[in-house]
Symmetry: C2
Subunit: 338 residues, 2 copies
């Protein structure tokens, strides 16, 4: 008996769940590994250091978009959440919530993408869970990934670590992920289709922290809410003010075009393969040069600076020389993006 689409019985915990796991999911995610079904993975604690622990659920629509898919997004998102607290990502859990009727070929494609991205990031999927919800719920597939990593330096970079005088560095172009998803969703006919930037940044950010240590004050991946929200989280946690320089922020022409067309502020659009780096001004050029040595850091640039202030504001020096407040995003412009 073969099956080509999911039924509710695949989520019931009986032999159909087991077949789904043993025939479809495990061979892709853990080829050649024992299919031990114990309820927890058992892992050797890494020395006497500290651990980083994170979780994220992914609910992107559509499931596949130019440059990526929900599987790559789920692995990269969790790897990046570990990397921005200065941790080396080691182990991931995978919680799948699947919709009745989902094509098995679709599920396999998602699992293959999870596997490939985990390999790319050097992490292992060590435990998981699979549930099935009724047709019409769940939107094909929701993915939760939780992650564990080893903290590489003390004190680790944190949102509260920014200081007056820091440079604000962006590791690459802004808005690619959100623009790619919305262009696919709106079926925009574009000359040069925009690709999502979704990528695991663990290797680059780990190397950065190993090279510069605690001189890296803050790392943040600007996902939901984009660069605007990332900056607001930093200024509030650190009680500082950030001034961004619009002309210095790298944005692809076609991404800016989509934002102009749909009325989005590129500062609010989600990114899934970028990080904001705050460090002392003196090492900023060296940090940019270091980042540029990595594929996902090629377009790194200094885009602003941190100043003392009683008001935790984010300001933008515009191209035409003016200055405007960057508002905290309200958040409804692009739902279901990551």
């Amino acid at each position: 008996m073969t099956f080509t689409s999911l039924t509710l019985a695949h989520g019931g915990g009986g032999f159909r769940t087991e077949r789904l796991l043993r025939e479809i999911i495990f061979p892709i995610l853990r080829p050649g590994k024992s299919a031990a079904m114990d309820d927890s993975a058992i892992l050797a604690a890494p020395g006497d250091g500290r651990l980083a622990f994170t979780t994220d659920s992914f609910i992107v629509s559509p499931l596949f978009f130019p440059g990526g898919d929900i599987g790559r997004l789920a692995v990269a998102g969790t790897v990046n959440d570990l990397a921005v607290v200065g941790a080396k990502p080691l182990w991931l859990s995978l919680g799948l919530i699947l919709e009745e009727g989902l094509e098995i070929e679709t599920l396999k494609a998602i699992c293959q993408s999870i596997r490939a991205t985990a390999d790319e990031a050097g992490v292992e999927i060590v435990t998981g869970d699979t549930k099935v919800v009724e047709r019409g719920k769940g939107d094909g597939c929701y993915v939760n990934t939780s992650g564990l990593g080893r903290v590489l330096c003390e004190p680790p970079p944190s949102l509260a670590g920014a200081r007056a005088g820091d440079a604000v560095i962006l590791t690459g172009t802004l808005g690619d992920h959100g623009a790619a998803v919305v262009a696919r969703r709106e079926s925009l006919a574009l000359d040069s289709p925009v690709q999502s930037d979704v990528a695991p940044l663990g290797r680059m950010l780990n190397a950065l922290v190993e090279r510069f240590g605690s001189a890296i004050h803050t790392l943040k991946d600007p996902t939901r809410g984009g660069m605007a929200m990332a900056c607001h989280e930093i200024v509030e946690a650190s009680s500082v003010q950030i001034e961004l320089d619009e002309a210095a922020i790298p944005v692809r022409r076609e991404v800016q075009g989509i934002c102009d067309l749909l009325g989005f502020d590129v500062l609010e659009v989600a990114n899934e393969g970028k990080a904001v780096v705050l460090c002392a001004k003196e090492i900023a050029e060296a940090v940019v040069e270091f980042l540029a040595g990595f594929n996902c850091g090629k377009r790194a640039a200094i885009v602003g600076c941190v100043v003392t202030s009683d008001h935790p504001l984010v300001l933008l020096r515009t191209r035409i020389g003016g200055e405007r407040l960057v508002a905290k995003p309200a958040g409804e412009i692009l739902p279901r993006i990551c």
Copy 2:
């Protein structure tokens, strides 16, 4: 501006997401704690022992049922998955997937239950994520909890640890959770309403492992697929055969009544506050006595034994003296139960 139900904007990552977290969720889950919003929690690794890591998504319908709710279920389920591999549960992550339109009062009740159950189990919610999906997609609320614990003994109990001659012990009555949920779902009018058994078993199972060490060969919580699936997983992982004694299995009269009414085999019904314990026959009586010292182990009983076999079967000696094969559940009888 107050809000009484969720909007998609609450999931957008902007200031509405922040308000949801800071005004509703954090005050319940982490009262008095800093509302640090870094992407990962940073935790001290416990000595040089091993860690257990698990994940589970919960999709129960209805969200509130006699004896519990999705919040208690999510914490207990993950605590129990750690406890059955012989680990002391320490830290939990919380991934909420909320449906647009969910009443804020409902969300608060779920968070309060999560908090109370975490306190009861002695675990801390250290990191989380909140997403909002369109009306009609998420069934109110899905909850993912991942968990980390410290392994208490080596080798830890495992599905593959069962040996011929072991006694099979159940820590209490069978079928309470599934029966309670389905009775509420079907609006069965019952004289004595059935309560779910949902409970964190960490303290009891940790104490058991600390008392008897590696003489506890296997622990398993019989959730989806029930006792039948739990036994099948054990016989397959351990290459043994299990013989259960129907007359020895504790089942509440009202639970048996619901099963008879709806045509369910109580062996296949989900439990959320029970464990199957396999240990050498010689210590079985002492284990039962030890379990009976805990509230959730009061009705512990020896319900079967493990025998050598080339065929990993589960057999049931029936009340009338016959013997039947216990099939591996197909899994569709009770969807959306945990």
